[in-house]
Symmetry: C2
Subunit: 144 residues, 2 copies
């Protein structure tokens, strides 16, 4: 699948529009919906991918995320041996939107933890930052 299309899927999914192409999993954040603080989109996608591939090893997989994975999600990618993380907006953008972020970038996590994961940042950044605007208008007080 072409990379822009894959990121567009993540964006669409974040808007609740489910579209399955040739992907292993495509999930969005359900922290509030399921009362589960760990239910970030990336964690959900990794859990579903493990189920769908019937494996805890996601070697070779690329994860497309609308926002830079937080340290929890970055570490989950590492555990799953995901090959590549492609993200749009940054943790700093999420923090500006009001989230209680641990401000440690993926680059720092990778370096400190000697992770082999490849990181592509700022991919379709504008469209992804725009999601925070839409989100603020719809549920601006629901930060966590």
């Amino acid at each position: 699948m072409e990379e822009k299309k894959a990121m567009q899927l993540a964006i669409d999914k974040a808007r609740e529009g489910i579209k399955n192409g040739n992907v292993v999993a495509c999930e969005h954040n359900v922290v509030w919906k399921t009362t589960d603080i760990t239910a970030h989109a990336e964690i959900n996608a990794i859990r579903v991918a493990c189920k769908n591939l019937n494996s805890i090893d996601l070697s070779g997989c690329t994860i497309f995320s609308t926002c830079e994975p937080c340290p929890m999600c970055f570490s989950a990618c590492h555990w799953a041996r995901i090959a590549k993380i492609v993200y749009g907006a940054s943790i700093a953008d999420a923090k500006i939107a009001g989230f209680h972020e641990l401000s440690i970038s993926n680059e720092t996590m990778k370096e400190l933890g000697s992770s082999e994961v490849e990181i592509v940042f700022g991919f379709m950044r504008e469209e992804n930052v725009q999601l925070f605007e839409e989100w603020k208008q719809k549920c601006g007080s629901k930060v966590y």
Copy 2:
């Protein structure tokens, strides 16, 4: 609940013995059992605690972990606003046991991320390191 008793619960739980005292949640690792690379004991305990308290905010809670939470689990504690992490063995011990750890200590995560969580390390360390020995004898090739 007395702190040693709470840690003993975590140890017992890691041995598959479920004992519920006056605790919000008590879980063990089910990564292999559920084919879910994110299903570390701490993530599971936080998810169950959210359900049991019907809240994504676990402020005031203390988590007792047999091993130092990995960066994924540390970050989940941060998101849940857990007040205190008490752990026994260290990430270095888990690495020696063969796990594919991101070697970033809880102290480093706390410092870099400006987290307010309190950390107590090496609590009942000997009993907790012993668990790795038991685990190696039972499932030594099942590292991930």
